[in-house]
């Protein structure tokens, strides 16, 4: 197992290098000269301009600039925010727990909704519940999250006034309000995952439920509940775990929209805001951090997969 993990981590290195090049390239291709932007009115002075370009390293060839930048990033220095002049790393670190809090809630919604519908459909294939589940899954994949957010806010915050329309409160200052504010964003964020888990979970469960050992368990007189919990779930979980792992990418993308719509100060919101304030170091840092999160999630999925299915390790 240790050997497998090591091999898997090493295979990430070239991918990480290319990811860093793309992230660097994003800033590099930006129109406009950063030195001109920083000098403002003084840009007319050629001497100062050239001096600043030298200080910023802009007179170096691209690969030197890239390597210098990469060295700084590896030591945790993501530069400074153009807007607030704070270090980008500290701007992002304040927001990570908020995004994790929302992301976990979204995943919980996705799992709870997805697995329960998958189970209900798989136990009674062809039934009305199953058809409803299929429609729900198709709708859940296709619904644009920002529209769903708008509809939910309109119904539950504007018309019924049960929940606050937007905002964020830390669970440590006011746990009840924090949860009330989290409900709608978590549903919006979790819907897409729920839909995917429904579809994959249903077919995984159906495949397992058709196998001989389930028939044996049934003929022993076991109830549906204990067949699923004791026999079917464990084997059906292998493909489901993969699907859940792959959901992290869509959760991260979804977070950018969800956090923006509901005014939640997370990392995704930071990326969107950075675009409008032309705060490119923050944008670059956020993109790097979110991508790293997806890569780590994929790694954990593969390791979990190898743990559940020992055959993988020896391939």
């Amino acid at each position: 197992m240790g050997h497998y993990i090591l091999r898997r981590v090493l295979s990430m290195v070239p991918v990480l290098l290319i990811v860093s090049m793309v992230a660097f390239g994003l800033l590099y291709v930006l129109p406009g000269d950063p030195a001109v932007a920083m000098l403002g009115e003084n840009a007319g002075n050629r001497q100062t301009y050239l001096a600043l370009r030298r200080d910023l390293g802009l007179d170096q060839p691209v690969y030197v600039q890239y390597l210098t930048w990469l060295g700084r990033v590896l030591s945790g220095d993501l530069g400074h925010s153009i807007r607030t002049n704070e270090p980008v790393s500290s701007v992002l670190m304040q927001r990570v727990p908020i995004s994790l809090y929302l992301g976990t809630a979204g995943l919980v919604v996705g799992l709870a909704l997805g697995l329960s519908v998958a189970l209900a459909s798989a136990l009674r294939p062809g039934s009305r519940i199953d058809s409803m589940g299929t429609l729900l899954a198709m709708g859940g994949v296709a619904i644009p999250s920002f529209w769903q957010a708008l509809l939910l806010v309109y119904v539950f915050a504007v018309v019924l006034r049960w929940l606050p329309p937007s905002g964020f409160t830390s669970p440590f200052t006011d746990p009840l309000l924090s949860v009330r504010m989290l409900i709608l964003p978590a549903i919006v964020l979790g819907t897409h995952s729920a839909a995917v888990i429904m579809r994959q979970g249903r077919s995984a469960l159906m495949e397992v439920l058709e196998q001989d050992y389930i028939t044996t368990a049934r003929s022993k007189g076991l109830a549906d509940g204990s067949i699923v919990a004791g026999h079917a779930m464990k084997n059906a979980m292998i493909p489901i775990v993969t699907v859940i792992g792959l959901q992290v990418g869509s959760l991260v993308s979804g977070a950018a929209i969800t956090e923006t719509v509901f005014a939640i100060p997370g990392v995704g919101r930071a990326a969107v805001d950075a675009i409008f304030f032309r705060d490119y170091p923050v944008l670059q840092g956020a993109v790097l951090m979110l991508t790293l999160a997806v890569l780590i999630a994929n790694l954990l999925t593969d390791v979990g997969y190898a743990y559940l299915d020992p055959r993988i390790r020896y391939r």
Binding site: P14, V15, L16, L17, I18, V19, V22, L26, L27, V29, L30, P31, T134, M138, G139, V141, A142, I143, P144, S145, F146, W147, L150, L151, V153, Y154, V158, P165, S203, G249, S250, V252, S253, G254, A256, I257, T260, V261, G268, A271, V272, I275, F276, L283, A286, V287, L290, T291, V294, L295, N298
Partner: protein, 305 residues
């Protein structure tokens, strides 16, 4: 000897030919495609959207950009079936015109993704070795980025506009197509007719174009159909966040952006464009699923999966 062989073979060939004349493969494919109601629904909705896009000036009751300050944020009525927005523009007309942007961005973005993805995938799969490794590592890296975040960042870096949104969406989607094409190419490459073509002196480029490409198209068509829905949602998301289509052009995503600002006083501004996006994406997903089922012989017998 030769004569005898021919006599045995010919009736068999004729028999096969006659049997396939009975139900031409195209008809069988169409019948399988239309087997489910969902494909019919998908076709109907996409036909309506296409009609809106092509005949927008004929169908729209008003000029989509005409502002009427005496009719600001009016609820749906006979004069304005879907109401008006914050500048007094007719929402129905804007929805009809908005279908143009959605289809245009969707089709061109998918075109970019398929063009780049198929080229990279076939080359990687056919060449193998270090070329394959190199291309696939880049593909891995681009896929590691969360889709929307990368599309956002690229559009922002290039400057917010429709053209850049198309480019960004196509760029982000290309790796998926490349991976799919490569997988298909790997299995086709080992077939005998490829070896035969090579023996006959066909160049690698000719083999990829004339022999591999026709044999890998089916799954790519399915994927491209599904991708059309994704591209339309992504464009709407970019426009919703403000980096896609710029005002005053009518786009469903940008209309939703306005709708979210007027949710309390004029909820209809956001509801209709969202429904348009939802239905269009649903339609392309139905079509993609139907195509997949019709093209995959293993799924053909089953009603639903």
């Amino acid at each position: 000897m030769n004569q005898l062989g021919l006599r045995v073979v010919r009736p068999l060939v004729e028999q096969q030919a006659r049997r396939s004349e009975h139900t031409p493969p195209n008809a069988r494919f169409l019948r399988r495609l239309l087997e489910t109601r969902l494909v019919g629904t998908g076709l109907t909705i996409s036909a309506v959207v296409l009609l809106c896009a092509l005949a927008a000036p004929l169908l729209a009751p008003y000029d989509p950009n005409e502002q009427d300050y005496l009719a600001i944020t009016e609820p749906p009525s006979l004069a304005h079936p879907l109401g008006t927005d914050d500048l007094g523009r007719d929402l129905l007309s804007r929805i009809i015109y908005g279908s143009r942007i959605s289809l245009e961005v969707g089709l061109i973005a998918v075109g970019i993704a398929v063009g780049a993805g198929v080229a990279l995938g076939i080359v990687a799969g056919y060449a193998g070795g270090i070329t394959d490794d190199g291309i696939m590592r880049v593909v891995d890296a681009i896929q590691a980025f969360p889709n929307l975040i990368l599309a956002l960042a690229i559009t922002a870096a290039l400057g917010p506009s429709v053209a850049n949104a198309m480019l960004a969406i196509g760029f982000v989607a290309a790796p998926g197509i490349a991976r799919l094409t490569r997988g298909q190419t790997l299995s086709v490459r080992e077939r005998e007719f490829i070896a035969a073509a090579r023996v006959c002196g066909a160049t690698p480029l000719g083999i990829m174009r004339r022999h591999i490409w026709p044999n890998v198209t089916a799954p790519i068509v399915v994927q491209a159909t599904l991708l059309l829905g994704t591209a339309i949602v992504t464009e709407a998301a970019l426009s919703f966040l403000g980096v896609g289509v710029q005002p005053p052009t009518a786009s469903w995503g940008a209309m939703l952006r306005t709708g979210s600002q007027y949710l309390e006083v004029a909820p209809w501004i956001g509801i209709a464009p969202g429904a348009a996006i939802f239905l269009t994406v649903l339609a392309f997903n139905f079509l993609g699923d139907g195509l997949r089922r019709a093209l995959d012989p293993r799924l053909a017998g089953r009603k639903r999966q």
